[in-house]
């Protein structure tokens, strides 16, 4: 098991390297000059030249990359062109809101999507199944920004139940923190819940029609045990894969949701950075996101092994 984890972590190194090269080159292909963007109305050629030198933008791209990689390996991800703050500091600031939003949305999605999927599968082609499918489809189709604004207008402006937007650290004021995050995680969670529900349903239907389930029923096991103990555990594998991938995506930041609810997380950071051609910030955030994604995949793989004895044998 440990050897397996070590092997996976080792493979992550070249992956991260390739991602960083890829992002670095893609950014350089973008039109738009970061120095012009940051100089604003000041067009004094001397100032522009100084800034180009300071941020090494006159060097060949390959050299710029090596220089970036060199400092990154020493834990220095550079400084933001826009605000002069160290990128590492920015990431540390933005990571907690993003993680909180991701966790709360995921919890919501699992609590709603998985039971709904199981129920829809066991009641296949009944009214419940159809209604659940319609609800799920609506959850997927309603755009986040629209749902977000409607919720703000209803829950905050009309009813005054929850704060309209913003962020409060969970360590400073846990109640307020959860309250501010409720609407965004609901908005983000509905789409995820729908995806999870659809996948749970089809995985469950697959398992429920297999021979050993018929055997289980034949020997007189109660339906509850058949569904939850015998079927669900086997249907869990694809759900875990999907859940891990979805969670990895959430860590990359939910741009629209963060924008609407003004959550100072990764999504907003990276969008601002791309618009301002703030190369170092984009690079740092993408790297951090990639690490998150790789970790989530690793966790999914470990869960696989724990759930499926056959895979333990294969290790």
């Amino acid at each position: 098991m440990y050897a397996f984890i070590a092997k996976r972590l080792l493979v992550a190194v070249p992956t991260l390297l390739i991602i960083s090269i890829f992002v670095f080159s893609l950014q350089k292909l973008l039109p738009g000059d970061p120095i012009l963007a940051m100089a604003g109305e000041e067009r004094d050629p001397q100032v522009l030249e100084y800034l180009r030198e300071k941020y090494r933008l006159n060097d060949p791209v390959a050299y710029q990359y090596v220089a970036w990689l060199g400092s990154a390996l020493q834990g220095d991800l550079g400084i933001s062109l826009r605000t002069n703050q160290p990128v590492l500091h920015l990431i540390a600031q933005k990571l907690p809101p993003t993680i909180q939003l991701a966790v709360m949305s995921m919890v919501f999605a699992i609590l709603v999507g998985v039971p709904m999927g199981i129920l829809a599968a066991t009641r296949k082609n009944t009214v419940f199944d159809y209604v659940a499918s319609i609800v799920a489809l609506s959850g997927l189709s309603i755009p986040n920004f629209w749902l977000g604004i409607m919720l703000i207008l209803l829950v905050s402006v009309q009813l005054g139940w929850l704060p309209a937007s913003g962020y409060e650290s969970i360590f400073v004021d846990p109640v307020k923190s959860i309250k501010t995050m409720l609407m965004p995680s609901f908005v983000l969670g509905t789409g995820l819940a729908a995806t999870l529900m659809r996948h749970t349903r089809s995985a469950m239907i697959g398992v429920l029609t297999s021979d050993y389930i018929r055997t289980a029923r034949a020997k007189g096991l109660p339906e509850r045990a058949v569904v939850l103990e015998h079927s669900f555990r086997n249907a869990l594998l694809p759900i875990i894969t999907l859940g891990a991938l979805l969670f990895g995506e959430l860590l990359a930041g939910a741009v629209l949701t963060e924008q609407i609810f003004t959550i100072p997380g990764f999504g907003k950071l990276i969008v601002d950075a791309v618009f301002n051609r703030d190369y170092a910030v984009v690079q740092g955030v993408v790297l951090c996101t990639a690490v998150g994604f790789i970790l989530m995949n690793l966790i999914a793989d470990i869960l696989y092994v724990l759930l499926n004895p056959r895979m333990r044998a294969a290790l």
């Binding site: 973008l30 039109p31 738009g32 000059d33 970061p34 012009l36 963007a37 940051m38 100089a39 604003g40 109305e41 000041e42 067009r43 004094d44 001397q46 100032v47 100084y50 800034l51 300071k54 826009r82 605000t83 002069n84 703050q85 920015l90 600031q93 933005k94 604004i149 703000i152 207008l153 905050s156 402006v157 005054g160 704060p163 309209a164 937007s165 913003g166 962020y167 400073v172 924008q259 609407i260 609810f261 003004t262 100072p264 907003k268 950071l269 601002d272 618009f275 301002n276 051609r277």
Partner: protein, 504 residues
């Protein structure tokens, strides 16, 4: 809550125990975007200036009727040749770190703006040869050539005096903990989240400061900003979108305010910036006139901006004293436009028009596209995000492009750098020695009547040659709780907090 210091806790406790607890007045302001670096020498965003208005006093301030009025400088005089500006400074002023404000601090700040390699104030202060302290509270600027716009420059970031102690200590990193002499001092900043300021107890005009704490929260979406105000999470919002103006006006709990701003909305026509200027529109002013005539400026102001904008045809709005009244904003005239097209020997003309991809910009561009098509222009819209548009404009990789300007108090700031041959932001590369001469002379004279005459002559030429087609002026739109009083809307869009109270 970590930030609360012991003295503050002690005073709160004492207040509760000893007397009726004093209610700390706070103002939460929703901004449209997050400022960039908070160093007056380096920053470049409009929104940053809003925060500075509370944090950093300037030598000169601007009144709501756009007069230059004393702030840290109490009076100023020009020498007869217009090459020396002497300023008397306010007595008894302190910076937030306790350093005394005096002539040396002013000299240090101006020199910092001129010499710091990262400074973005160099163009604004380009006319300054040197600055020296001529007394403990008096400074003298010596100029390379006469520059009447200098006082107006000193009413913005170039004239924000920073603590020399802090500037020396932090250098280019000053923005991490800015120290100025304004009514509120910096407490903390979380990027994209909030900027917190608190009342500066030793402010020179502290008797007119009625707020203890100010928090700026960047909330990019106008509707969400307004929703936060309506739900009570904010006390004040700036730059509401015209589409939200109606909601704000209709809400009985809110006060609505708007004022036409100092800037303009326009389209650049590439007349000389590289090979892409070689096209009929760039070479024949009659086609540009036809294009301008085909636009219904009133309709744009009424429909796209829901009546909050005004139609315009010059770099100054019709309400400005600098507006050239002999060139009134004309209505749409498609027949005349067609006649001009015919005269130029063009039947239909394809035009590629660049624009940034925000909803309201697109709406306006589509209106213009439809309007000018009736006169014979086949406009294809090329939308990019702002940084790309800026890059292409500077590089001359465009035929026509939509650009706005936030505006300056001095008329020079709305016109000189855009249309003079060597102007810093002249992206159309329009070059006419006569216009250069008029605008240089206008810059050098301290006599307003002379300046007005020069600007009138220049706008008349520009209105004929049209390297820039101006079509209107937006308004700043604010909304705030009824409990907030004392706010005076100003065409410069700033939120001045002197005299502002929040009873709620």
């Amino acid at each position: 809550m970590k930030r609360i210091t012991m003295p503050l806790v002690a005073s709160v406790v004492a207040g509760v125990v000893l007397a009726f607890p004093a209610f700390a007045a706070e103002l939460k302001i929703g901004l449209q975007d997050d400022p960039d670096v908070l160093d007056p020498a380096q920053s470049r965003t409009f929104v940053g200036r809003i925060v500075y208005t509370a944090m950093c006093d300037k030598l000169v301030d601007v009144s709501p009727d756009l007069k230059l009025v004393p702030q840290l400088a109490t009076e100023w005089t020009w020498s007869d040749d217009g090459k020396q500006l002497t300023m008397k400074l306010r007595e008894g002023v302190k910076f937030h770190d306790g350093t005394d404000f005096n002539a040396d601090a002013v000299v240090a700040t101006i020199e910092r703006n001129l010499t710091l390699p990262e400074s973005r104030r160099k163009s604004e202060l380009a006319s300054v040869e040197k600055i020296e302290a001529t007394g403990p509270l008096e400074v003298k600027f010596t100029l390379k050539s006469a520059d009447a716009t200098l006082v107006a420059q000193l009413s913005d970031r170039a004239g924000m005096i920073v603590s020399p102690t802090a500037a020396k200590e932090l250098g280019a990193d000053f923005g991490s903990k800015p120290v100025c002499a304004g009514p509120f001092k910096f407490v903390e900043r979380v990027q994209n989240d909030k900027i917190v300021l608190e009342k500066f107890a030793d402010y020179w005009d502290k008797d007119n400061i009625f707020l203890d704490k100010v928090t700026y929260l960047p909330i990019p979406d106008s509707t969400v900003r307004l929703a936060n105000l309506q739900s009570g999470d904010l006390d004040f919002v700036e730059r509401l979108a015209p589409s939200d103006a109606g909601t704000a006006k209709a809400d009985a709990n809110l006060t609505y305010a708007d004022v036409v701003n100092l800037g303009y909305m326009s389209m650049y026509i590439n007349v000389g910036n590289g090979p892409r200027a070689d096209n009929p529109l760039g070479k024949d002013k009659r086609l540009r006139q036809a294009f301008s005539l085909a636009i219904d400026r009133e309709a744009i102001a009424k429909v796209a901006f829901e009546g909050t904008a005004v139609a315009g045809n010059q770099p100054f709005p019709p309400s400005s004293p600098w507006f050239n009244k002999s060139l009134p904003v004309l209505g749409r005239d498609v027949e005349k436009a067609k006649a001009l097209m015919k005269e130029a020997g063009v039947d239909r003309l394809p035009v590629e028009l660049g624009a940034s991809n925000s909803p309201i910009v697109m709406q306006v561009m589509q209106m213009i596209q439809a309007m000018v098509s009736e006169a014979g222009f086949d406009v294809s819209l090329k939308t990019t995000e702002f940084a790309t548009l800026l890059d292409e404009q500077t590089a001359g990789n465009y035929q026509a492009a939509r650009t706005d300007w936030s505006g300056r108090v001095d008329p020079d700031g709305n016109i000189h750098q855009f249309v003079t041959c060597k102007g810093g932001i002249n992206d159309t590369k329009y070059c006419n020695p006569e216009v250069d001469k008029l605008l240089d002379e206008a810059r050098q004279s301290t006599d307003e009547a002379v300046r007005k005459q020069k600007y009138d002559a220049a706008t008349a030429i520009l209105n004929d040659e049209l390297p820039i087609i101006y079509f209107g002026h937006q308004s700043w739109i604010w909304a705030f709780k009824k409990s907030v009083t004392g706010f005076v809307p100003s065409p410069d869009g700033m939120i001045r907090l002197v005299g502002v109270k929040n009873a709620g």
